[in-house]
């Protein structure tokens, strides 16, 4: 391992500083057509009519596609994991979020493509929209998704569950119960390069797809599925991403470009405007997280009950996976022997949400760490000592039943305290990750220490 700890130059650094790095938008192939999309102007509506004939007859227009042109229109980002698909590539009969693509045009210029979009005739019948996840389960909430307002495919459940230990006993034995509600909001990732792809139909019948995706093989699978072609018909060229931060995990432009390239038999490019990037690209999800901790007066966290609502937007995409990561991290970097977690992926009429820097985890870390401070405040404890005391150690069992071999919470917490100039008592300063003994192995942790990961 010569690279670890060594100062290596960036392999792409010289390209970057000389401006020679070729981003997707910088690739030049002759006679490229431009793409524009007809997008929903409603949050929730039935499409009562759509007529693209005027647009088709316009000068410079080379291809138009609607849902009828997509071999497999409805697909899901988690189909590879056996979750059924729920999202149309192009809206079919209804729209569920403002900006949802309905039809797409490839034309000889960006202007001609936009003019064609404006010439498309569409009418809607508006429906009541749902924006607040907290109202999604109300009896009078509009039902906006074919599966109901909650994602139903967590095995036999309609939510992600974690059960560990005896949660009721923990709350019976608690000296204090500390509650908190945390609501991290949606964030647009704002990569400096907006979504873009260029698809070139090759003489061999293959498609070369220049993509800004963060997830090459995954995007390849998505395009192949919608097109119903084997993977060997697609040659993806990626690896140069002008910033992603999670915003380029969902496949945004590639599939529509590929279909248009096939139909027009010409290279086709779609570069989103900054406005599109802000309005219709997937954002980090908003969450609603309720924590309830059973705490002893010595500052041990005996148990935690959690209810989480994850705003998935109009379709599932990766949200069920993000919530699973969230669930696995909901005890934070601390050992909590008794857990009960119920997390729901909730549909709303927002743009579908996705990853951003720690998919699902950042939201729960924010909640947990804020909650730790709240516990310290309520109990009159030092927040650093509270963390160090409850910190994961070798032999502790995580929320999802993993016996920890190399936790680093203590080391990281001590280093952080050091950096910000916190003076800790000798007892806490001398802590390490070694297995619990003596005062650090109270009664309530003994049982879980013997679980060896089996009982969770």
């Amino acid at each position: 391992m010569k690279a670890v700890g060594a100062r290596l130059p960036r392999y792409d650094g010289l390209g970057h500083v000389t401006g020679r790095t070729q981003f997707v938008d910088d690739v030049r192939v002759g006679k490229t057509l431009w793409v524009k999309a007809l997008r929903s102007t409603h949050h929730n509506a039935a499409i009562t009519s759509l007529d693209t004939s005027k647009a088709e007859a316009m000068k410079g227009v080379r291809a138009i596609i609607t849902h009828k042109d997509v071999p497999k229109n409805v697909y899901g980002h988690l189909e590879g994991l056996g979750v059924p698909g729920d999202e149309p590539l192009l809206a079919d009969g209804e729209v569920r979020w403002l900006g949802q693509p309905i039809a797409a045009v490839a034309a000889e210029s960006e202007a001609a493509a936009q003019a064609a979009v404006e010439a498309m005739e569409i009418s809607y019948e508006e429906r009541p929209a749902l924006f607040d996840i907290r109202n999604a389960l109300d009896p009078d909430a509009p039902e906006i998704h074919q599966w109901g307002n909650v994602y139903p495919h967590y095995g036999p459940y309609n939510h992600r569950r974690v059960r560990k230990g005896d949660i009721d006993r923990a709350f019976d034995e608690a000296d204090t119960i500390v509650e908190g509600v945390y609501r991290p909001q949606a964030i647009e990732q704002v990569p400096m390069e907006t979504q873009v792809s260029l698809v070139v139909p090759e003489a061999s019948g293959r498609l070369t797809i220049y993509s800004c995706t963060q997830a090459m093989y995954f995007s390849m699978g998505v395009v192949a599925a919608h097109l119903q072609v084997p993977l060997n018909k697609l040659k993806f060229v990626g690896g140069t991403v002008g910033g992603g931060f999670g915003g380029k995990v969902d496949t945004a432009t590639e599939t529509i470009c590929a279909l248009l390239a096939l139909k027009a038999r010409k290279p086709v490019k779609w570069r989103w405007t900054r406005e599109e990037e802000f309005l219709v690209s997937s954002t980090r999800a908003p969450w609603h997280i309720e924590l309830q901790d059973a705490v002893s007066k010595e500052g041990w966290i005996l148990g935690r009950r959690t209810v989480t609502l994850h705003d998935s937007g109009a379709y599932a995409r990766f949200s069920p996976y993000g919530l699973t990561k969230h669930a696995f991290h909901h005890s934070g970097a601390y050992t909590i022997p008794n857990l009960r977690f119920d997390g729901f992926v909730v549909f709303t009429n927002r743009v579908p949400t996705t990853a951003m820097r720690g998919f699902g985890v950042t939201s729960v870390s924010f909640a947990v760490e804020t909650h730790m401070n709240r516990i310290a405040e309520v109990m009159g404890l030092d927040p650093w000592e509270l963390r160090l005391k409850n910190a994961n150690r070798i032999g502790d069992t995580s929320g999802n039943g993993v016996v920890l071999k190399d936790p680093s919470t203590v080391a990281v917490t001590l280093a952080a305290a050091d950096r910000v100039g916190i003076e800790l008592s000798a007892e806490y300063r001398g802590m390490n990750e070694e297995p619990r003994t003596g005062a650090l192995l109270p009664e309530h942790l003994v049982a879980q220490q013997n679980l060896n990961g089996e009982g969770a």
Binding site: G99, A111, Q114, V117, T273, E275
Partner: protein, 268 residues
Amino acid sequence: MRATALMIQRMTLDVLFPASADEAATLYGDGEGITVFAGGTIILPEIAAGRLVPERALMLHKSGLDEIRTDGDRVLIGAMVTVAALAEGDDPFLAGAASQVADGEIRRNATVGGNICSPPGDDAQRGDLGGALIALGARVRSTGAGGERTEPVEDFLAGDRAGRLVLELEYDGFERRTGAHSLRRRHAHSYAIAGAVACSRADGSDLRVAVTGVGPTAVRCRSVEQSRDPADVLKDVQPVDDAVATAAYRTAVLPTVVREALDHLEHA
């Protein structure tokens, strides 16, 4: 959803390049069907995105309106003087106001004429130089239907600016006390949340106060000028909501911003 495409090809544009101020005035006529193009910092993205398709564009960059001159005590600023030139100019008060607009790169395109003619923005309030110009007691010389006229900046801003071609601004050079304060986000090119400027004669008389960034144009604050009470600013303007700040926030902070500006003037 608004159209967002590049519309270069859709522009069947007639672009005019007047070589003098007189020629510009003649070509402009009563302004019917003419779109004035100054630095382009507001208007070019609109044209490029196809949201604005001018019939005829009047490009002013060769019209000789880009000079700052003095005539006796008067200072005359051509409409095409860039905000960067003002920021580096001799008048420290104007330079201060100019150096708050956008960032250095945008200021090299942006013009003073474009600044006081900027149409109300959807997401931010513009026209920040208007405040400083009002406080200086500046006048605008413009042309259009009915010919040339010169009027105080505050009247020009409060009136219907459409149909006027701004040629020049002028103010009287005398010793002043000045004060300014503006509240903005850290990013150098973000718009002001609220700004206040004040000028008086060296002896403190003839106080002139204006605020910017809280509504579609800069506004002269006559109530504050009379009472010298910063709270009275809310009698002069009603702050608006936009992407930069809420009306409620602006309303809450504006008196403090005005107080800061008056304090600066007091201690100048």
